[in-house]
Symmetry: C2
Subunit: 102 residues, 2 copies
Amino acid sequence: MFLAMNRFRVLPGSEAAFEEAWRARDGRLGEMPGFVEFHLLRGPSSDGHTLYASHTIWRDEAAFQAWTTSEQFRSVHRSAGERKVLYDGHPELETFTDVEGV
Amino acid sequence: MFLAMNRFRVLPGSEAAFEEAWRARDGRLGEMPGFVEFHLLRGPSSDGHTLYASHTIWRDEAAFQAWTTSEQFRSVHRSAGERKVLYDGHPELETFTDVEGV
């Protein structure tokens, strides 16, 4: 299990636009070899923002890295600039590997 | 989908003890109604620590809340104090709900 989470601090009033932008995108993740599962998650609201996280599970790190250099990745990030969403700072990517699980 | 992540900043040299403590615990999460899946994840190393996260998926927030007041929860956290692990700060709990997914 390889988990890529991108953390977004969305400013008050931009939450609905942020969620709508994700619903409207054409991510095409399902076309990528090694893609397992994607969720957009809403986290806690505090300190003047709401934390959101994209939560994508890949078979392994190689599958994730292949996606970051794919045409699908470039395509979906080209349209990201059109979003009318205000953020507190830049998104923060964190990746995780499985130590153990049940 | 309801995700509870507890973030641990483990100091250099304590990583193996931290992982071993999780392997050795008797979490009994599988006994809890609404429990879906647990993983211990290792994240990036930077700024003098390695980020780990417990990553537990519950059917819904009510199932998670029921666990936090259960005998299983008290039991597993009683033994947490015995761990010979050094942290940078306290663990940080973040919970997330599903906005959308594929």
